[in-house]
């Protein structure tokens, strides 16, 4: 089996080369931003460069030791996104850069810890309902009076003492693990399709229970937490995973119909949903430019338009004029200073991540691992799509973070845990 023996070494060479490239790109972006902004390279470039180098090297060592057959491109791709995000946050909110670095460091530590603790993804299959309950609890924690906080109109923050975080981010990862385990166990049942309905074969109505339950839960998130982004994301992840588990396109259709019904119901009854749609349609009308929400989206559009094909150059534009350019609107800030070439590169990085994730799902031998990899991949891909589509006005804007790029501790840490699980499945699938 010389072939199999040669493979991990070649893969690790690729991982190391790609990670070094990721470090160079991240720090290059940071240095260039400083050059453009202040006319000189940031004084702490060497410091951040070496700190990131140490963190990446430590992560590579953990991958080598605990997941030697891991996919070679997954970690470096996330590293590039993290590096670019750090530089752009330094660009638009210099005061948050140090914090973002700290979150990235904690995120990478969480990544390593997850790989060390979860030696085999099938370990997680044993705790289906525990993980599911914890995930649900995290999701609904912001509703608890006294703990939940309303920030920017959405009730998705939790404050305990001086610690403030967004539990739905970690909840998302746990729910994906739960769904993978649950759907894998019930797959055969959900596959049974006996009722014919036009070109589709539908499962018995009684087996549609889980779909309706997930739909109901996402509506609860929408109504109680006023969190449009999370609501949309959860339902979409669920439908995609159900489709992957059963190979029945009928579920996609049912999901789309339920989504349409939920969206219509939300639009009819919730003022903030109506406002989001109105902003989406009328963001660029001159009369609205100074209104909250409209102006933000308009500034994002102006930034993308100013950027054009190649952008104004890092540190040379005015992306700090966009409200929330360090979180939800970071994609527009990248668009202004690196142009279409920069934003397309970001999209391609997510495409790479999604491609590698689905590849791991295909190669995985067990049903749980397949579903887990597909679900985690869908979570990253859908989230990136929802926010990039929102910023570019393809769809109504819903506030979620751009994975690995946006400022925010909860998001960065949860996404690194998600990444670790994806790396774990990819390592398992190569080993068999």
């Amino acid at each position: 089996m010389s072939h199999a023996a040669a493979r991990p070494r070649a893969r690790q060479g690729t991982t190391i080369a790609l990670t070094i490239l990721a470090l160079v790109i991240g720090m290059g972006t940071y240095a260039l931003t400083g050059l453009g902004k202040q006319g000189r390279v940031p004084a702490n470039l060497a410091l951040y460069g070496s700190l990131f180098a140490v963190l990446f090297a430590a992560s590579l060592l953990v991958i080598r030791r605990f997941a030697p057959f891991a996919d070679p491109a997954v970690f470096p791709t996330a590293a590039v996104l993290t590096g670019i995000g750090f530089a752009v946050i330094y660009r638009v909110r210099g005061d948050l850069a140090a914090e973002q670095f700290t979150w990235a460091a904690i995120g990478l530590a969480a990544f390593c810890l997850t790989l060390i603790v979860v030696r085999d993804h099938r370990q997680l299959d044993a705790y289906t309902y525990t993980i599911g309950l914890v995930g649900l609890a995290l999701l609904f924690l912001p509703i608890v009076p006294g703990v939940g906080q309303v920030i920017n109109g959405a009730r998705l923050w939790v404050r305990i003492g001086s610690l403030q975080f967004q539990p739905s981010e970690l909840g998302k990862v746990l729910i994906v693990v739960f769904l993978a385990s649950y759907l894998n166990a019930k797959r055969e049942l959900l596959r049974l399709a006996t009722v014919k309905w036009g070109p589709f074969r539908l499962p018995q109505p009684k087996h549609l229970g889980p779909v309706l339950l997930a739909w109901g839960l996402s509506l609860v998130i929408l109504f109680v937490e006023k969190d449009l982004g999370a609501s949309l994301l959860f339902f979409a992840i669920f439908v995609v995973m159900l489709w992957v588990a059963t190979a029945r396109p009928a579920y996609l259709v049912i999901g789309a119909l339920l989504f349409a019904a939920g969206a219509w119901f939300g639009y009819a009854n919730l003022a903030h949903v109506q406002l989001r749609v109105d902003i989406w349609l009328h963001a660029l009308e001159p009369a609205n430019v100074n209104l909250f929400g409209y102006g933000q989206l308009a500034q994002g559009q102006f930034a993308l338009a100013t950027g054009g094909l190649v952008g104004s150059g890092l540190g040379l534009g005015i992306p700090y004029r966009i409200p929330f350019a360090w979180t939800d609107f970071i994609f527009a800030a990248i668009g202004e200073e690196l142009g279409l070439l920069g934003t397309v590169a970001i999209i391609l990085l997510y495409v790479t991540l999604v491609g590698r994730g689905l590849r791991a799902a295909l190669a995985c031998a067990d049903g749980f691992g397949k579903l887990l990899a597909a679900g985690l991949t869908a979570a990253i891909g859908l989230q990136a799509f929802v926010i990039m589509g929102g910023v570019t006005r393809l769809i109504p804007l819903t506030g979620v973070t751009l994975p690995f790029v946006s400022y925010g501790g909860s998001s960065l840490i949860s996404n690194f845990i998600l990444l670790a699980l994806l790396v774990r499945v990819s390592a398992g699938s190569a080993r068999g």
Partner: protein, 154 residues
């Protein structure tokens, strides 16, 4: 710093970014091609090459049982028909909660050793390929049952 230098640096950065994406995607493509080639070229096709490397003795003569960490647990000579599982009656008994009572069988047919799955819960894998029908085994092959690995030797 002149605008020209800044632009040049910006383009270099974008170039580097696309080079990264190119490398990452190329890794995917070669990976897929490798997997595809492995799947397209069935086990029979690789037999002559193997035969050239090891001219003596075609079939396996013994089997080594290893746990998930690769520790050697037992070794058996291949004789007659060997059942693998947690059950009392199995000739190769493994203490592995992922293994079924009657999990797999190694048996001789027409002079060659085959492995078949006995309807186990977690499946039997021959070199990472799920065993759905009896498949021939050769020295060096790895049969995975649960977390336990059976290594075939000459």
């Amino acid at each position: 710093m002149s605008p020209f230098v800044l632009s040049a640096l910006k383009y270099s950065l974008l170039l580097l970014l696309y080079f990264f994406i190119f490398r990452a995607i190329r890794a995917t493509v070669t990976d897929l091609r490798r997997t595809g080639a492995r799947e397209a070229r069935p086990r029979k096709a690789s037999a002559p090459r193997r035969a050239k490397q090891k001219p003596r003795g075609k079939g396996p003569g013994s089997v080594v049982v290893r746990d998930a960490e690769g520790r050697k647990l037992a070794a058996r000579k291949l004789k007659g028909s060997l059942d693998v599982g947690r059950g009392e009656s199995c000739s190769i008994r493994v203490e592995d909660s992922y293994v079924s009572q009657q999990h797999a069988r190694l048996f001789l047919r027409d002079g060659s050793w085959l492995v078949e799955d006995l309807g186990s819960t977690n499946g039997t894998y021959l070199n990472d390929q799920r065993v759905t029908s009896p498949m021939p085994v050769r020295p060096g092959d790895l049969v995975k049952v649960g977390k336990t690995v059976l290594e075939l030797r000459r």
